[in-house]
């Protein structure tokens, strides 16, 4: 018996399927003092990590020429939704090569195949 398999996880219906290379909008619940609101982070998924309750994914975006990466725990209740806005066609599972690139070199081809 594996401990991680014994934790009951409710799949969140508002999380789309996504793979590395896809562009996603992630809604995160943020509590500021007494107010709770949803913050949106949009960018390219550069990695999917792990399985079970500890699974996470990392989203990278470039804002004002500064690369920003955020890692979210896939099963955290603070992740309200993940919306896939664009499918990407990539050959690697981990897109760390995007870190050293900017402009045209950092583009990801859109996956237009019907799946």
């Amino acid at each position: 018996m594996e401990a991680s398999e014994l934790v009951k996880l409710e799949p969140n219906p508002r999380i789309d399927n996504f793979t590395p290379g896809d562009t996603v909008r992630v809604g995160i619940r943020v509590t500021e003092g007494t107010r709770t609101r949803t913050q949106v982070f949009e960018g390219v998924v550069i990695r999917n990590r792990g399985s079970g309750p500890g699974a996470s994914f990392t989203v990278r975006r470039v804002s004002y020429e500064i690369g920003v990466e955020r890692t979210f725990l896939t099963h955290s209740p603070a992740v309200e939704y993940v919306e896939r806005t664009r499918r990407g066609l990539v050959k690697q599972a981990r897109l760390y090569y995007l870190r050293g690139r900017s402009g045209r070199g950092a583009r990801i081809k859109e996956d237009r195949r019907n799946r």
Partner: protein, 213 residues
């Protein structure tokens, strides 16, 4: 409930989420089901207690078969627990994870992982010697272990290298995050002594304290 604890098997560690997104690191244990195999009363034994059996087996030696003839089941593990009132408990009664619920505080007793013969740095947190400034083979040395001719011997109980782990350890005041009697599982916040598949005793926190005189 009257019985102070039960026998469990450690399954492993993982994490669980709170509604607000915080997470707890939890140890998952298979808690019970345990069967009451013997009730100890002041009249018959001079003290109160309950003996529980855990993990049924098919074969045991004759003396143990004889001891367990009253419950007609054979168990690999037999352990004793305190009880508030022995008249509440019957031989053959099942004790499971219902004994504890989320929010309860428990003490977990188990056998820590054996680490073999270890030096003072790992075993007792000694600082070791300097890495540089002309030092050779003093990097993990224990340093002085006492004065010279007076007292003329090393004082007893001095922290030195030796066998580490594989000892009975109790971690106190652990919080039960969730209890699932249907699957015989309990989720305990923090770590529990021992490796996977080892036996741990879970008791209500503080139930082993001696009463104040």
């Amino acid at each position: 409930m009257a019985i102070h604890g039960l026998i469990a098997k450690k399954i492993g560690t993982t994490q669980m989420f709170h509604e607000d997104g915080r997470s707890d690191d939890v140890t998952v244990v298979q808690a019970g089901p345990c069967i009451v195999t013997q009730v100890k009363t002041p009249d018959s034994d001079g003290y109160t207690g309950v003996q529980l059996g855990f993990q049924e087996v098919r074969k045991l030696n004759k003396p143990r078969q004889g001891h367990l003839s009253s419950v007609d089941k054979l168990f690999r593990h037999l352990r004793e627990f305190g009880v508030d009132d022995p008249s509440d408990v019957e031989v053959g009664q099942e004790i499971n994870a219902e004994l504890f619920e989320a929010g309860d505080k428990i003490d977990a007793t188990g056998t820590s992982k054996g680490r073999g013969f270890q030096g003072g740095v790992k075993r007792w947190g000694f600082s070791g010697g300097p890495k540089t400034h002309g030092q050779s083979d003093r990097h993990r040395a224990p340093g002085s272990i006492g004065a010279g001719s007076s007292p003329g011997h090393v004082i007893k109980g001095l922290k030195m290298a030796g066998h580490m782990g594989n000892a009975r350890i109790t971690t106190r005041n652990l919080e039960v995050v969730a209890s699932d009697p249907e699957r015989n599982l309990m989720f305990i916040k923090g770590s529990v002594p021992g490796g996977r598949n080892s036996i741990v005793l879970l008791r209500r926190a503080g139930s082993r304290k001696r009463p104040l005189k």
